[in-house]
């Protein structure tokens, strides 16, 4: 019933809005926007923390076919080896691979850019496919950019070791954004996105634990049970400011809440500073905190304690802090081939996770009194970009 609500409340007015925009695009032919420049990026990424190690390559290509049409292609691989706290307490370490590919097309007409994107992410027990459409328009003397996006995703979930298991879920997303130039040095962006999920929304391997005095360990396990729907709304404000000595500072603030009663806020500050003509250095600080899902508990008092049961630490009450640094080297013109501008970047993020009501079952303290879990992760990215 909530899904029907999404369709009626959101899709119909969106279609009306899209039609209106297309009409306005046709009627006011005066000046035009431009599509972004062609580029190719090759990246190596690595994540290590909490017993997980994930790394792999990624590649991004962007090419204009004409001044009005551009194509993008993206390919990404995660090679995962996991011995995380969930895995160690209930299973054995595993390794797997996830492949993701995206194909996109953009069409520019006067001041309107319409883009279309297809995405598929594939691992041996999860197949996600989605398509998204986005319309973006410059208006108000080009000081304002309005955008509207719609996305539909379909997921197929399997369970390794259980051939008969097959589940589905769907996701609808709708977003609206406004980007406003405030002064010669300042822009602000406000974006709102509503997401509705339906179907099998939990993890087919994960379990919750409950107090069970009938067995020696004192703890019993049962499969997690999630609601069949989840609706959420996120609002994000971003502000960009150009500093007079030529540097840029960015501030982001996002508020999120959903039908599982999770509320979160995050705030981020970025600073980008060029050094001469050849280097750029970036600093990042981000703080995130969330409240727990309504049906989450680290330890339930007995079996089947609630209709919905979750012990996923991602649904717990927790916070994290990120500190990041990046350096970009821009290849000078005399070393560059004709019109190619190349650059190489190294980025390092350090993320500290701090759980307020998720306990580490492998630590001491007795059932329900183990120490609260926390870990830190190091994320690296090394990539080369060529603009042509």
């Amino acid at each position: 019933m909530l899904q029907e609500g999404v369709v009626v409340v959101v899709i119909k007015p969106t279609v009306r809005l899209l039609i209106l925009w297309l009409l306005s695009a046709i009627s006011t032919v005066s000046e035009a926007a431009v599509l972004e420049a062609d580029r190719a990026d090759v990246l190596y990424h690595s994540y290590e923390g909490g017993g997980m190690k994930i790394d792999g390559p990624a590649i991004l290509l962007r090419k204009k076919a004409t001044e009005a049409v551009a194509f993008t292609a993206y390919y990404y691989v995660d090679t995962i080896s996991s011995a995380s706290v969930d895995v160690l307490s209930t299973a054995s370490p595993y390794s797997e691979e996830r492949n993701e590919g995206q194909l996109g097309a953009e069409y520019l007409y006067d001041k309107t850019i319409m883009s279309f994107n297809l995405r598929q992410s594939d691992e041996d027990d999860f197949l996600a496919q989605s398509l998204s459409v986005n319309v973006s328009q410059d208006t108000f003397g080009d000081l304002t950019n309005l955008s509207l996006g719609f996305s539909y995703g379909d997921n197929e979930i399997k369970r390794n070791g259980d051939e008969s298991f097959l589940a589905q879920s769907e996701q609808y997303r709708i977003s609206a954004g406004i980007n406003q130039i405030l002064t010669r040095n300042l822009t602000a962006n406000l974006r709102v996105e509503a997401i509705a999920d339906e179907g099998f929304l939990n993890n087919p391997y994960r379990t919750v634990r409950f107090v069970d005095t009938s067995i020696p360990s004192g703890v019993g396990y049962q499969a997690e049970i999630y609601p069949q729907t989840r609706n959420s709304l996120a609002t994000k404000l971003s502000v960009s400011y150009f500093l007079p000595y030529r540097a840029a500072v960015f501030f982001h603030y996002r508020y999120f809440n959903d039908s599982w009663e999770i509320k979160s806020t995050d705030a981020e500050l970025n600073y980008r500073h060029p050094i001469g003509d050849e280097f750029e250095i970036e600093f990042k600080v981000r703080y995130y905190q969330q409240s727990q899902a309504e049906f989450y508990s680290d330890l339930f008092p007995y079996k089947d304690a609630q209709n919905y049961l979750a012990r996923d630490k991602e649904l717990s009450d927790y916070d994290n802090a990120t500190f990041g640094i990046g350096v970009t080297y821009l290849l000078p013109k005399y070393l560059s081939f004709e019109n190619l501008r190349s650059e190489a970047t190294l980025q390092w993020d350090y993320i500290d996770f701090n759980y307020n009501n998720f306990r580490d079952p492998t630590s001491d303290g007795g059932v329900g009194n183990e120490s609260l879990y926390g870990f830190s992760a190091n994320v690296f990215r090394a990539f080369v970009s060529v603009n042509f």
């Binding site: 925009w21 002064t183 996105e193």
Partner: protein, 86 residues
């Protein structure tokens, strides 16, 4: 039920976007607002260091790392409005 508030917000946002589009659509100008940042004053905003999508491939990875570990999702991509070149 609980999500009525979220739906109302979405409806409001869509209505505002609709009205803003009416603004850009109408040609009749009894009142005119001059753009207060002229096209030739967009030098700083057009500077590559001011782009949120300066490193798109890295942004995609950052978003993926966070989305996999945080319950919140959405509103991540940035908008347009850069150089204003025609």
């Amino acid at each position: 039920m609980k999500l009525k508030k979220e739906f109302l917000v979405i409806k409001l946002v869509l209505k505002v976007a609709f009205l803003l589009s009416l603004f850009s659509l109408t040609g009749c100008a009894s009142l005119s607002i001059e753009p207060w940042v002229k096209p030739y004053e967009r030098q700083n905003l057009a500077d590559p260091i001011m782009r949120l999508s300066r490193h798109p491939i890295a942004n995609m990875h950052v978003a993926h790392v966070l989305e996999a570990r945080e319950a919140s999702r959405g509103a991540d991509a940035s908008g347009g409005g850069g150089c204003g070149c025609n």
